[in-house]
Symmetry: C2
Subunit: 338 residues, 2 copies
């Protein structure tokens, strides 16, 4: 058993044949005699030969690696997406390089460079909350590297993408509150430079309009995480706004608000009904359990990866871009129904 790195050359040298023959024998090329194949494979096994994927990448200008840019890994939704990506990529023999943008534009740009430098065969992206300039993605397109956007897509950028129907989901979530008799419904909104932030707000507005509930801009507050939700909730209470419902852009925001309201003695859902968005591990364990939109992270990861692999492996790459819209269903729990 030879230790360290065994190369094709080593095998060739030992067997007194040429590297090309070893290469062919290893991949069962028809030209090679059975004896040679046997000898080569035996030694390869004995010496624990493993092909150098780096050399292969260079030779074939194909790395069998896909890159993923993700805003934040520590997040039920996004980690579910990664899990879906990983599983599909693994089955197809692809590696996954993960880059976390940490919601920073600069880092997203750097990530993109890194992935291109490493000659990944394709890139999966969900843009950061900060991103408003998309030059780095045009760069990817110039390099003809396939790219699929998931969840947080770039508006008007012609590319493959997989999303959920955020507008409709938000609409149904808000409608659900209205159907349960709520009339003064707040919205804790996401950043409006993200399409999903806009869409979820629009869905909220649509439901209100449809029910002929007057829209009060003061009831729409930009708050998209636990801390901001706490502060926003406190502010709302201090201003003694009369509200009976809340639709939040994500679960953690909903939970931050819920806990703050509860601490002030407000009964959920009796006094204020709450609906979140994402349906991660959290929603089932709060008290009351949280009504939420199931965003199907794992599925989004698998679908996005399948789209990407299809574009990577298909002979002609210039077929039209696709947009897949996944189902997002409202999971009704205790926080919204008395």
């Amino acid at each position: 058993m030879k230790s360290g790195l065994v190369t094709i050359k080593d095998l060739a040298h030992e067997l007194k044949i040429s590297p090309s023959t070893v290469s062919r024998a290893l991949k069962d090329h028809p030209d090679i005699s059975v004896e040679t194949k046997l000898a080569v494979n035996e030694l390869a096994k004995k010496w624990n030969y493993q092909p150098n994927a780096v050399a292969l990448s260079l030779k074939q200008s194909r790395s069998n690696t896909i890159g993923v840019i993700i805003p934040e890994i520590v997040h039920f939704f996004f980690s579910s997406v990664i899990s879906g990506i990983e599983d599909v990529a693994y089955d197809a023999g692809f590696n996954v390089i993960i880059c976390q943008s940490n919601e920073k534009y600069d880092r997203e740009v750097a990530n993109t460079r890194t992935l291109l430098a490493n000659r990944v065969d394709g890139i999966l992206v969900s843009i950061s909350k900060e991103t408003t300039d998309f030059g780095h993605f045009y760069n990817v397109r110039d390099r003809v590297v396939p790219m699929v956007f998931y969840d947080r897509v770039v508006p008007d950028f012609y590319a493959d993408q997989v999303i959920i129907d955020d507008l409709d989901a938000a609409y149904r979530a808000t409608k659900h509150l209205i159907e349960n008799g709520r009339k003064k419904i707040m919205h804790f909104a996401g950043p409006q430079n993200l399409l999903i932030g806009q869409q979820r707000k629009n869905g909220y507005l649509k439901a209100l309009k449809e029910a002929r509930i007057e829209i009060d801009e003061n009831l729409i507050i930009e708050a998209d995480n636990f801390e901001k939700a706490r502060l926003a909730a406190i502010k709302v209470l201090d201003e003694k706004k009369a509200i009976d419902g809340l639709f939040a852009v994500n679960d953690l925001t909903a939970i931050g608000a819920m806990q703050t309201l509860q601490k002030r003695g407000i009964k959920i859902p009796d006094e204020i009904a709450i609906v979140g968005f994402s349906d991660g591990r959290l929603s089932g364990i709060t008290n009351p359990t949280l009504t939420s939109v199931d965003q199907h992270g794992y599925e989004m990861g698998t679908v996005a990866t399948e789209m990407l692999l299809k574009r990577i492996t298909s002979a002609k790459k210039d077929y039209p871009f696709e947009t897949k819209v996944l189902n997002a269903n409202l999971i009704v729990r205790e926080s919204s129904v008395v």
Copy 2:
């Protein structure tokens, strides 16, 4: 602006100089004249030249990439670890290839092969719940690829590792229950082939012994996830065991038990006090909030990566292996104190 992939050759050809000069100019080699440098850099920028990291890897037998084997990404603790790894690696200019073992031995072995094939400069591993054979890691050692184990380490395997003192943390968690007057304390244990499973159980036993509480093997049940915890809790209730405390191997297990007990009308912490382990996002949002051991996932990721990078970059690699033990503090919340 040339699209597609620009190489050093292209630049050299255009400027009618040799590739080596371009290469040197690009890295600001002192030998090269200022004019040449300027010309090269200008064209490189104009043509958006980006070095091919794959070619570099091959040349330098160094990929600037580290591999991570992680049991499950969708898990607050593990995703925190990844986040820590990512941040440190990124700052040091290293890429991160993530492989999920999904708690399967076979997949862990395959992951190891993949990472070696891709010539990663080092590997971070937390072993799967199934793993009892460690041959694949000896393989890594033969290849002289640095390796650091985090959290779930291999017993008696001589390697760098970063862990928390599971035994002590479990001991303190259990002692905390005892100090709050609990005497019939159950333990929902993790798989005993994992060191952390053993250690946490041993810590529990140590605290009981110290308090001269008789150990009842029937109160130790192997249950390490939400579902198993529900079933175990139901079984316990059906058998009408008299218990007043529970120490669970992780938070999700604690929460599964807590919810089941609550549904049967048992008051937490009044009738049964509960302590979990990990302290993720979940523990602060349950009702009552969950007392738990803070496992410092992010820090574990950063420390493990620093150890790995140190071994990768240090000239002599044969300095003694280190074991770093991180502090794990008990975060007391409502579930354990009346």
